[in-house]
């Protein structure tokens, strides 16, 4: 277990993972009622990745996320209530209801947006890292992307550029085995996404994404190197998603017991709990208290989101430009 983790860190990590899980499982339920508009992609099952990486980040560090962005948002410190309201398309949403699930963003906490374009975050995070470098802070930029995105030219170009410019960047390939219904065994022409790192002049590291501690440690090393001017890293996190590609996906392409098996044996919250309690670092009662607290918080967020007003005609034409001629 990484020596750098304090008790507070562990509590924070657990709360983050639990918040993500609760947020996503609640959305799964609420989506089925038909009240949530648009496409919703859930991050449940992958919590240890966002959490293990983002625990190293400061507010002035930046992340770029994906269509499956809720977990990254929460891990980077976004408030759940305005996130939930955004997903419901409400005026009180973090983006005023203009963005929705695929575009939640909060630049104030260094969260540069979920992204509806697969691979779109790669170039953007090079820019965030460049800005940090130019300003002489030791800030970093982290790009989360999927196995499917690892075949997108934008991601591949971005990795090369990050090395050429020696940017303080981390590329986190969240390999959950699928891009929509397509297996990464089919779409990614090499065994591991990390195998691509060498071709772009950076270290490639593989970690078990069900294991918070493994992610945390590997990300910590890469981020420290980036802050110190040592350039970018490609970190491949192998994990699983618990729900369909998006809500509504019947997932007939998956083996029938695939998710069940993983949930039972490799769930990141379960593994975390086991580890911290068997090591005597946190006790179960503490964790259960967090669970109750988080459940109440998510419930309140849903209730508030449902009750909130929608944006109105006055909102339609604003926020296109900063300066209108």
């Amino acid at each position: 277990m990484s020596a750098t983790l304090t008790r507070d860190d562990l509590l924070r990590a657990y709360r983050t993972m639990r918040t993500i899980r609760e947020f996503e499982e609640r959305l799964h339920v609420e989506f089925a009622t038909g009240e949530i508009p648009g496409f919703v992609h859930l991050y449940a099952g992958e919590e240890a990745s966002a959490t293990g990486v983002c625990l190293h980040l400061r507010p002035d560090d930046r992340i770029a996320s994906t269509h499956r962005g809720h977990g990254h948002c929460i891990a980077k410190g976004m408030e759940v209530a305005p996130m939930m309201a955004e997903i419901y398309g409400k005026k009180t949403g973090i983006c005023g209801g203009k963005g929705g699930s695929m575009h939640v963003a909060d630049l104030d906490v260094g969260m540069m947006g979920a992204n509806g374009i697969v691979g779109g975050g790669g170039p953007l995070i090079c820019g965030a890292a460049l800005a940090a470098k130019m300003k002489g802070t030791d800030g970093v930029g982290v790009c989360f992307f999927g196995d499917g995105a690892s075949n997108q030219g934008m991601i591949l170009e971005a990795m090369n550029l990050a090395t050429v410019w020696r940017l303080p960047a981390l590329f986190v390939a969240e390999n959950n085995g699928y891009a929509e219904a397509t297996s990464s065994k089919y779409s990614v022409a090499c065994d591991n996404i990390a195998d691509r790192a060498g071709g772009f002049g950076m270290p490639g590291v593989i970690v078990d994404g069900h294991d918070f501690f493994a992610v945390h440690e590997a990300a910590g090393e890469a981020i420290a190197r980036a802050r110190a001017g040592g350039g970018p890293t490609l970190l491949e996190v192998k994990l699983n998603r618990y729900y369909g590609h998006f809500e509504g996906d019947q997932q007939t392409y998956r083996a029938t017991d695939e998710v069940k098996r993983i949930r039972e044996t490799r769930d990141c919250l379960m593994l975390f709990t086991r580890r911290v309690s068997s090591a005597g670092l946190l006790d179960l009662a503490e964790l259960e208290a967090i669970d109750r607290d988080v459940a109440a918080q998510i419930d309140a967020a849903v209730v508030a989101a449902k009750a909130a007003p929608k944006p109105t005609a006055a909102d339609l034409l604003t926020d296109v430009y900063v300066e209108y001629a």
Partner: protein
């Protein structure tokens, strides 16, 4: 021809019939089959909204899944077309054109001219467009105007199941690169569609409502709102020609000009962003070539110059509807010099 099927089924049927007829027709796209490399069902998706579902069962490896590498696989379709195949590639949402446009507008569109008339590139690019799904700014755009801007491309925007089938068959048989725009909201629209194969020629607009007072030129999903508006207006004594362009490149100038020469009034209805779009294209055409007939300003009914908003409340305000069309028609009827 009493059989009714959906717009989605009509496209599927066109693909199936052409693939059966001509072995050089192949199809490809992200999850066009679905389940590649996975342990569960093959043909698990048939495209993200199921348009190509079932083709794998009939045509096997002639329909292929792809990595999320739009430049590579759309470019591969272009290259294969230049080598004697007739590929139908799916650019899932047209909003993704930004990662692969080069292969479409600099390669496919220009081969024939750059190569002195020696290339033939019969590629079809199918793509979803349009608002209405609460899919926000990056999954709701209506970008056909940008494709129409490019010489060398043909741009098809069907509004009904009947047209979708006939225009898809023509697109596949056509020897030029064709971009085929499918409105996601129309997929579930039902309509009468003949079972056999038939091709609708490009460049022939369809007059879907007749009248001598005002010409409404429109396309895609907007055709339905325009017809609704025309029906309402007819009850108020205002008779509209509603012209469904069906293809914007080539453009059926003749039908448009004939109508405006008769009515003297034009309203153009277009779901795309208002600057440099199909609405301005048609308005400019008429202001140049049928000016003498014009009795009133040419009204354009389009969304505002803003990205497509997510919230249903805003998206519904964003998309033009029958009421706004009727209002535009009324205003040109009331115009006095």
């Amino acid at each position: 021809m009493a059989r009714k099927i959906t717009y989605k089924q009509a496209i599927n049927e066109a693909l199936a019939q052409e693939m059966a007829r001509d072995s050089s027709v192949i199809a490809m796209g992200e999850d066009n089959v679905g389940g590649a490399g996975a342990e569960g069902e093959k043909d698990a998706w048939g495209g993200v909204l199921g348009v190509t579902k079932g083709l794998y069962g009939r045509f096997g490896d002639r329909i292929m899944d792809t990595p999320i590498s739009e430049s590579a696989f759309i470019g591969a379709a272009v290259g294969a077309a230049a080598c004697g195949m007739r590929p139908v590639a799916e650019l899932m949402f047209v909003d993704f054109m930004g990662v692969c446009f080069d292969q479409i507008f600099n390669q496919a569109a220009k081969f024939r001219y750059m190569f002195g008339g020696k290339a033939v590139t019969p590629v079809v690019i199918r793509t979803m467009y349009g608002a209405g799904f609460r899919a926000a700014a990056q999954h709701s755009q209506c970008l056909y105007s940008m494709f129409a801007h490019i010489p060398g491309l043909k741009v098809v925007v069907p509004s009904t199941p009947y047209d979708a089938k006939g225009l898809m068959i023509q697109a596949i048989r056509d020897n030029d690169p064709v971009i085929f725009f499918e409105h996601k909201v129309l997929y579930t629209l039902e309509g009468e569609v003949p079972e056999g194969a038939y091709a609708i020629p490009f460049g022939e607009a369809d007059v879907v409502h007749e009248g001598d007072d005002v010409t409404i030129v429109t396309l895609g999903r907007m055709v339905h709102f325009a017809r609704d508006a025309a029906q309402t207006l007819a009850k108020r004594g205002i008779d509209c020609d509603v012209i469904d362009l069906r293809t914007i490149s080539p453009l059926d100038e003749e039908t448009i000009l004939e109508s405006v020469n008769r009515t003297g009034r034009l309203v153009v209805v277009d779901e795309s962003s208002p600057r440099c779009n199909v609405a301005t294209d048609i308005a400019a055409l008429v202001a140049q070539k049928a000016f003498a007939a014009l009795k009133a300003p040419i009204e354009q009914v389009t969304p505002p110059h803003v990205p497509v908003p997510f919230s249903d409340a805003l998206e519904d305000l964003y998309v033009p509807d029958a009421a706004r069309i009727a209002q535009a028609v009324t205003s040109v009827m009331e115009f006095k010099r």
